[in-house]
């Protein structure tokens, strides 16, 4: 189109101004050529406008009409300024100055206004128009609508920005490396350098063998390559070796980027440092193993207690009895003889008393062993956890303990109780034990009232067994859950296991047991059990 202004045999087209255009070819008449050119201009998709040096529009083609929305009659004779947004009015002045100097303005991208006031992105080519004498008398302006291109460019820019942001986010979080199809490292991010302790220069061009820890079997690596070569992503945990010889673990995803034929051309490896987790896992595993060993030890201790420690007791008790009977025989014989006086003391007092203490000691030790065994077996009993109707359970407990309740002249009040989840037998044992304790530790000076209440608290049911008994002094409260601890061994029977077992039972069922108590007023035992 630069040729538009070439100074040759010109011809005049459109309006009252001359526009010099080159001849398309020779052999046709001037009129034919003018008509031909006029048709090109008229049918062009681009807006083609001419104006004089004052900026007054002198021609306006169909493309201009389509682009800006004005009829030729509305535009011709007016200054082009009405097409220019207020903030760009200066542009026209500088364009006209350049045109006046004979310069061309090529692909000048700017914004113009449509008739409806909406902006339109255009690319302008503006050339001077000269008359037959070479004098510049105006300008031709070709305006092309580039809205679509601008929009695509904006989309592309937004997409590129998004990709850039994503990459920044990825780099912020992950260890990233890219390799070519052969596995040669072509890119590493900062995190990769930090964790591997290699510089970027040391890594680029190498393959991942540089950080191989030789921890994984060959099959593991082979499987990785087989997967990604098929274009499938691979995920796994890898132990790598840093430059200083230290090891680190990374959770790794390798994502193949495929070429047009579907073959991997690059591999993107995204890794997360899981060294701490791996260390914790190893620690946990070690602890679990130790715990298992300890449990085995404990089991054998329990076995030894249940058999070996008991076996001598059978003898002590059994032969103690035999001694006792032998003693009786001796007494029967000797008392009638003269030797009686001297033997009287040992035979009637010392020996029987010693035997009595031996027997009592054995009975006590046997009870302790028995309790210890029951306690240690709790952990092995299989639990059958299901919803429990606590109202029915407490009613049956009270019924089965009616005799003792009457003996203690106690009153038992049971509120309406919420349901909970637990093992029926064991939860029954806990409540029976608490009521039994309340009966045992009653205050003879006051009538005993035992009240059982309960309420729902979120996902749990919390029950309270409250008594008006002797209560527990604050300094004794933590001790009552200790194994074999008894507050008043002389006053009551039992081996001091009830609350220990109750607490253990509840702990196994995600339950809790705690006490609130005031000496001389009474105790409240709280039981919390899950409901879901």
């Amino acid at each position: 189109m630069k040729k538009l202004a070439r100074k040759r045999d010109g011809l005049q087209i459109g309006g009252n101004q001359a526009l010099k255009v080159p001849m398309p070819n020779s052999g046709t008449t001037l009129e034919e050529q003018a008509a031909w050119m006029a048709e090109i201009v008229a049918s062009s998709d681009d807006a083609i406008i001419s104006k004089n040096l004052e900026g007054i529009i002198t021609s306006w083609n169909r493309g201009a009409q389509r682009l800006f929305g004005y009829e030729p009659g509305e535009a011709i004779g007016r200054s082009v300024l009405f097409l220019i947004p207020p903030d760009r009015q200066q542009e026209e002045k500088s364009i006209l100055e350049r045109i006046a100097k004979g310069e061309h303005v090529e692909h000048y991208e700017t914004v113009r206004l449509r008739k409806d006031g909406s902006p339109v992105h255009v690319s302008l080519v503006i050339s001077p128009i000269k008359d037959a004498s070479g004098q510049i008398i105006g300008a031709s302006k070709i305006a092309r609508d580039i809205s679509e291109r601008i929009k695509s460019e904006q989309l592309l820019r937004a997409a590129l920005k998004e990709v850039g942001d994503m990459k920044a986010a990825l780099d912020e979080h992950s260890i990233v490396a890219i390799t070519d199809a052969a596995g040669k490292i072509t890119y590493v991010n900062d995190k990769f350098c930090v964790i591997s302790k290699y510089s970027r220069e040391e890594l680029i061009g190498q393959d991942h063998r540089i950080i191989n820890s030789r921890y994984h079997p060959k099959e593991f690596i082979r499987d990785l390559w087989t997967t990604i070569k098929q274009g499938k992503p691979w995920r796994g945990e890898i132990r790598n070796r840093a430059k200083d010889g230290s090891f680190y673990w990374v959770d790794t995803t390798i994502f193949p980027i495929l070429d047009d034929e579907g073959k991997p051309k690059q591999y993107v490896a995204i890794r997360t440092d899981i060294t701490t987790r791996k260390e914790n896992e190893a620690k946990l595993e070690r602890l679990a193993r130790e715990l298992e060993e300890k449990n085995k030890d404990l089991e054998s201790v329990v076995y030894i207690v249940s058999h070996d420690l008991r076996a001598p007791l059978v003898n002590v008790q059994g032969f103690g009895r035999q001694l006792e009977r032998a003693c009786e025989k001796i007494r029967a014989v000797t008392l009638s003889s003269d030797a009686a006086a001297e033997l009287k003391q040992p035979l009637e007092t010392t020996i029987p008393q010693a035997l009595r203490f031996i027997q009592a000691g054995i009975t006590k030790m046997d009870a302790l062993l028995d309790g210890f065994l029951r306690f240690s077996r709790l952990g092995r009993v299989a639990l059958n956890v299901k919803p429990l109707d606590m109202n029915a359970m407490l009613a049956s407990i009270v019924e089965s303990m009616q005799f003792q309740i009457n003996q203690a002249k106690a009153e038992v009040r049971i509120d309406s109780l919420p349901e909970c989840l637990g093992d029926s037998t064991q939860v029954n044992q806990v409540f029976s034990n608490l009521i039994d304790n309340a009966l045992k530790y009653r205050d003879p000076a006051r009538p005993l009232v035992i009240s059982v209440s309960g309420r729902a608290e979120g996902n749990r049911a919390v029950y309270a067994v409250k008594d008006t008994g002797i209560g527990i002094a604050p300094e004794h409260q933590p001790k009552i859950f200790e194994i074999f601890h008894r507050l008043d061994p002389q006053a009551t029977t039992g081996e001091g296991l009830g609350l220990t077992i109750a607490q253990r039972i509840l702990e196994r069922q995600n339950g809790k047991l705690w006490v609130e108590s005031q000496a001389g007023i009474g105790s409240t035992f709280h039981i919390s059990l899950p409901t879901v």
């Binding site: 008991r310 059978v314 008790q317 059994g318």
Partner: protein
Amino acid sequence: MNMSKIAPVILIVDDDEGHALLVRDSLQEAGLSNQIEHFRDGQSILDFFFHHGPGSHMKKGQAYLVLLDIRMPKVDGVEVLRQIKADKELHKLPVIMLTTTEDPREVERCHDLGCNVYLQKPVDYGKFAEAMRRLGLFITLLLVPPVTERD
């Protein structure tokens, strides 16, 4: 099969000599006049049954009853029970587990292996004597088949 005529020899297998003595005494006190033999570990009773070694061995045509402790040196009672019950002839012998262990799993294991009775030795001598008296009664009522051919 003439079962009832022969009083079984009672074989007490217990590494604790005191226990064996107490069992023997209380069975005799309960009125049992059976011959009673004591074996100190599982190996010696197996040798007796399976004719190993120089010691005494069981006799054909004699009836036996075994009172078996569990925890013993060399071969424990559960293994002795297993071997007796796995033998096509010996499995007819009544085996009474008599032990201080009351571990439910141990009890179950012995029942699974086919022990005839599982008795815990009570520490309390009164209970112990009572248990032995009942055991004695049980033994007198028990029809014990004599050992016939084995091998």
